[in-house]
């Protein structure tokens, strides 16, 4: 392609030149950002895959070398890997469902409150802007600590006794799910509240005249109307849950044992606590593949609607 710039062509401004001029301008604006992304995301990704094919253990550097698919075949017989995979499914599934259910119920409820919505909205923003690591630490100390944490105080006051909320394997999983749900439900709540507020009131009026009950109205009018917003919330919440790290790291560190060790935590611990970067890289590749596959699926699903 020739990039001509004769004065004649400029004064005539044929469409062709204008289009190619626009193209060149667009590329000039876009290429720097794309180069940065290529350098900071895509290249590391390739390097990650490369590392996942190697034995790379900082604890045993003399064993380093190409290993082929060894790291991947090792996963098959690694109970900790399957455990982390299962926990990832449980963690992601439960937090997303809880956030949407609670967020939607609250939004429907708050919509009926004539005044004071503003205060609620401000309160809802607080958890969202906090750093997840601070949220994790807050919960670990002020909310869930045995004896002095608010939840434990409440539990004792209600006669349910004191519990080691983050130290008992089963409770710990429930606790980290609660922490995530606490921090991110406001997001679902705010988005759905904003969506509900834009629904046309006349549809409801018509439905009421037709004597449709409250549940009927919800299932046949509200739900179909806000479905796109719900799908969007589910997608975004899934992405956040799949990359969750700091809050769990701060609250339990993945423990006790591996009770809260979702795939993110397992990959991190393998790489930077046990210093087995090769195996950690292969775990990270699996994590990437799962995340990208799910986001691709969700977007396909969404476009099909």
């Amino acid at each position: 392609m020739q990039l001509k710039r004769e004065p004649a062509a400029r004064s005539a401004r044929p469409i062709r030149t204008l289009a190619s001029q626009e193209r060149r301008f667009a590329l000039a604006l876009l290429v720097p950002a794309l180069l940065v992304l290529l350098l900071t995301t895509t290249t590391p990704l390739v390097y990650l895959v490369w590392n996942s094919l190697h034995r790379l253990d900082l604890g045993m550097p003399w064993l380093s070398g190409f290993a082929g698919l060894e790291n991947y075949t090792r996963m098959g017989s690694d109970p900790r890997f399957w455990n982390s995979l299962w926990l990832t499914v449980v963690y992601t599934g439960s937090t997303v469902v809880l956030q949407v259910l609670i967020g939607l119920s609250l939004a429907l409820l708050v919509l009926q409150i004539p005044r004071g919505q503003g205060v609620l909205r401000v309160a809802a923003i607080l958890p969202i802007v906090l750093a997840p690591v601070v949220v994790g630490l807050f919960w670990r100390t002020l909310v869930l600590a045995p004896d002095f944490g608010l939840v434990d105080v409440a539990s004792r006051a209600l006669g349910m006794g004191s519990h080691n909320w983050l130290g008992d394997p089963q409770l710990a999983l429930i606790s980290v799910i609660a922490i995530h749900t606490w921090q991110w439900t406001p997001f679902a709540f705010l988005v759905l509240l904003a969506t509900l507020a834009t629904l046309p009131p006349d549809v409801y009026e018509a439905a009421r005249l037709d004597r449709a009950g409250a549940w009927q109205r919800f299932f046949h009018i509200t739900l179909p109307l806000i479905r796109p917003a719900i799908v969007m919330v589910v997608i975004l919440r899934m992405m956040t849950a799949l990359s969750a790290f700091a809050a769990i790291f701060a609250a339990t560190g993945g423990g006790p044992g591996s009770a809260t060790e979702i795939l993110n935590l397992y990959a991190y611990r393998t790489s930077f606590t046990e210093l087995n970067l090769g195996y950690g890289a292969s775990l990270a590749v699996v994590l990437m593949a799962i995340t990208l596959a799910i986001s691709f699926l969700m977007f396909r699903l969404r476009r099909a609607r």
Binding site: A19, Q21, E22, R23, F25, A26, L27, L29, L30, A33, L34, V36, L37, T40, T41, T42, T43, P44, L45, Y47, L48, N51, V110, Q112, I113, V122, A123, I125, L126, P127, I128, V129, A131, P132, V133, V134, L137, W139, T141, L142, A145, F148, V153, W182, L190, V191, M232, I235, L236, A246, F249, Y268, S271, L277, A281, A284, L287, T291, S295, R303
Partner: protein, 282 residues
């Protein structure tokens, strides 16, 4: 009459639930604020007390004392500011091209940007660690700033795209017909239109960078130690310094809470960015 009573009961129930909601979300933060003014002894009182003699000792300690987090606040500030400036420098032009210009592979490049936003940080931390170690950039401002671009750039591009798409097409067409030139049109006609969007995007990029933890803890060190990492100073195996942790956390989170309150109306937009466009169409 019964109808009126029913309505009143309903309103009361609604208020109760709303109040509960408020409490659940605001309480841990308010409790943290309260704790930050307690002595370590008051913290461990049972039942927890709301009436106590407030002290500023914790703040004095975390600002001027041996466990001062001032250097950490400075680290966070430098990294977040540098990352934000660089991000905006790259993101604004790219977003304009994505939103407004016709060029080949437009859909593809937009999808690429979106896909890079999906990558979980834990997945990329190993190559970042190895590369930064290789070029001697571990525990440096340059290293951490560069890595922060990985999550802030795609986010900023997509948020800016939504603002560029909101401005009417006619203005730039008129300017172009006046032969203003594309760059001049962008600078003098378009950018002033999206000033608000640039402000909001800048704020969010800063907030995300400030709150970042994983990259900071792995790629930072004694030199560059953002405040999110410094929170762990107050927690050790032997002892947790509750009140100091609370005071430190309050200081560390003050900027983002402030940002949240100021930009609250834009938060939903900031959080849903990308997904709205993710389907390829508006």
């Amino acid at each position: 009459m019964t109808h009126a009573v029913g309505a009143r009961v309903r309103a009361l129930v609604l208020w109760l639930v709303a109040g509960l909601l408020l409490a659940v979300w605001a309480f841990p933060v308010l409790w943290g604020l309260l704790t930050s003014f307690k002595t370590e002894r008051d913290v461990l009182a049972y039942p927890p007390t709301v009436l106590f003699e407030p002290t500023l000792d914790n703040y004095r300690e975390v600002i001027f004392g041996g466990s001062s987090i001032l250097p950490n606040l400075w680290s966070s500030f430098v990294v977040s500011t540098a990352a934000t400036l660089l991000t905006m420098l790259f993101a604004v032009p790219a977003a304009y091209a994505l939103a407004r210009l016709r060029y080949p592979a437009k859909r593809g490049s937009g999808f690429y940007v979106l896909a890079t936003q999906m990558l979980p940080p834990v997945g990329l931390i190993i190559p970042y660690y190895l590369v930064l170690q290789g070029i001697g950039w571990l525990d440096t401002y340059s290293g951490l700033t560069a890595i922060y671009l990985t999550f802030s750039l795609p986010f900023a591009i997509w948020l800016m795209v939504s603002y560029f798409e909101d401005i009417p097409m006619e203005m730039e067409e008129a300017a172009l017909l006046d032969r203003a030139g594309r760059l001049r049109t962008l600078w003098y006609v378009i950018l002033p239109q999206v000033r608000g969007g640039i402000a909001v995007t800048t704020i969010f990029v800063f907030l995300n960078a400030w709150n970042e933890f994983l990259f900071a803890v792995v790629l930072g060190g004694n030199n560059v130690r953002p405040v999110t990492v410094a929170m762990f100073n107050f927690i050790s195996v032997e002892q947790t310094q509750w009140a100091r942790l609370a005071a430190g956390a309050m200081l560390a989170m003050a900027p983002v809470i402030l940002i949240g309150l100021v930009a609250q109306r834009h938060i939903v937009k900031g959080l849903t960015v990308g997904a709205v466009k993710g389907g390829g169409r508006r």
